[in-house]
Amino acid sequence: MTEVRDTNVHFHQELAGLEQKVLSVVDRAEHMVEMAVEAVTTGDIDLANRVIAEDAEIDRLYFDIHHNWTYMMARFQPLGSDLRRMSVLLQLNATFERMGDQCVNIAKIAKLNEGLPRAERICSQIQEMGDLVRPMIRTAIEAYVRQDLDEARLLPAMDQPVDRLNANMYQEVVAVAGNPGLLEWSTKMLMTSRALERVGDQAVDFAEQTVYLITGERSEFNEEGLNGSDHDTSG
């Protein structure tokens, strides 16, 4: 069999560069989740400010990647798996930018909650959600980098405990609602829980994009991680 020769070297080099840039954003986002959870559960305002500053860099990268993407499409008009990869990178760029925004939401809550009384039980549940969400992001990155379908399909199962904790958070807030001093703080922690739940969903979206890149078929995971109905891009 004859050796395959790449006649599209310049495009493929730029594509690899673009991909690295997009993955660098999700690396930052994963780190931001850690910082934001730490800030909101310990009341560390300096850390919250660092999360907000880090998001400015993610926003800058988002526009930079979008600009590169548009110019590459104009010049190369890729097809086949190259086209799918470009499509996936555009979607991921938006998803990771929103992950950064969710971290900023949490950091802002940390600042708004400054000086308010806190409930340790709720803090430890938020901490637990953060501990579940960050490995989801890491697994999704590894599935993408290794192009590993089985690994990508782990994400929905990993998301289930996150969804459960988020659903339970309402009960936790109701439990402390009798204490007026805790009510304001705890309702904001409900929003924190919701933000972390969204980050988990975004990690699942990331894995769905990986499946599309590998198989060429667009579908949304159901709870078992199998391909379900048409992809829903809302949210």
Binding site: M1, T2, E3, V4, R5, D6, T7, N8, F11, H12, Q77, P78, L79, G80, S81, D82, L83, R84, T215, G216, E217
Partner: protein, 293 residues
């Protein structure tokens, strides 16, 4: 005889076409689902050289089908086999069946001139006759045995030029030479000439590769309009063009055979969307992403 005097002779005394060697249509109910034209186990040889092998394709009606692939893959050979244009090349030979309205166009009783009237062709380089714009278009109708009045012929010429999106640009200079037009206009004139014989199918062999980008887009727009009336099969080496205009795409590749011949073959035939976003075959994927064996 020079080429010009040959053309003059043909234009003055159009060849007699044996009519109805192919049925106008088979049973109407069958006709709806039947392909515009199909190949069955088609092999094309030039002398002993097998240029392309085992081609099985159904070209859909009122669609644009694109044939793509690297040089030497046989895509133009396949196209020329669909209206017996290969007959004009010494040593060319077609095995298998090319079915059109239920008839194998290579059956001895079929008149190749009638085949070419009903399956028109447009070439890479615009090739108007050294005649007026009007005569370029009316010629097709003349060889088709058109016996109408002068005003009927004028109507036919206008209709063909309008269909080819050229009428507004030439209506005031129909007596000017076809050569006086720009390259893009000449190509649309050739399309008008091809459709003036009222064909079922129009074959296009790289119809825009000699044109600038704007003229190219006009030809592509025209193709999209024309597919309402005709079935179009296009050979193009521009993959983005195939992606823009076609409904289905066939990818051909070429392989060195045991006897040292470079023979083309069909790799994949599917909807254009499928072929250019998620092709089934690795060879297709390699080709459309710029990786060649």
């Amino acid at each position: 005889m020079t080429n010009e005097t040959k053309i003059e002779a043909v234009l003055t005394n159009p060849p007699e076409v044996r009519r109805n060697t192919i049925p106008a249509s088979v049973d109407a109910a069958v006709d709806v689902v039947e392909a515009a034209i199909s190949t069955e186990d088609m092999n094309v040889y030039y002398g002993d050289f097998l240029a392309v092998r085992d081609v099985n394709l159904d070209f859909a009606r009122n669609e644009i089908t694109a044939l793509i692939g690297p040089s030497g893959c046989g895509k133009s050979t396949v196209l020329r086999s669909l209206n017996r244009m290969n007959d004009l090349i010494p040593g060319a030979r077609v095995e298998g069946v090319v079915r059109f309205h239920g008839t194998n166009i290579y059956e001895p009783e079929v008149d190749p001139v009638e085949v070419r009237r009903r399956i028109g062709m447009v070439f890479q380089k615009p090739n108007p006759f050294p005649k007026s714009i009007y005569e370029n278009v009316s010629w097709g109708a003349k060889i088709n045995g058109f016996k109408g009045s002068k005003s009927e012929m004028e109507g036919l010429v206008e209709t063909a030029l309008r269909s080819a999106a050229l009428w507004d640009e030439v209506k005031d200079k129909l007596g000017d030479s076809g050569y006086s037009l720009s390259g893009g206009q000449q190509q649309r004139l050739c399309i008008a000439r091809a459709i003036a014989t009222n064909p079922d199918i129009v074959l296009m062999d790289e119809p825009a590769s000699a044109l600038d980008p704007i003229a190219t887009l006009r030809i592509e727009e025209l193709m999209l309009d024309l597919k309402n009336e005709y079935s179009i099969i296009i050979v193009t080496h521009n993959m983005q063009q195939a992606a823009r205009v076609s409904d289905h795409t066939a990818f051909f590749n070429v392989k060195l055979s045991d006897v040292g011949q470079r023979t083309g073959y069909l790799v994949e035939f599917s909807s254009t969307e499928q072929l250019f976003t998620a092709p089934k075959e690795k060879d297709t994927e390699d080709y459309i992403t710029g990786r060649f064996g």
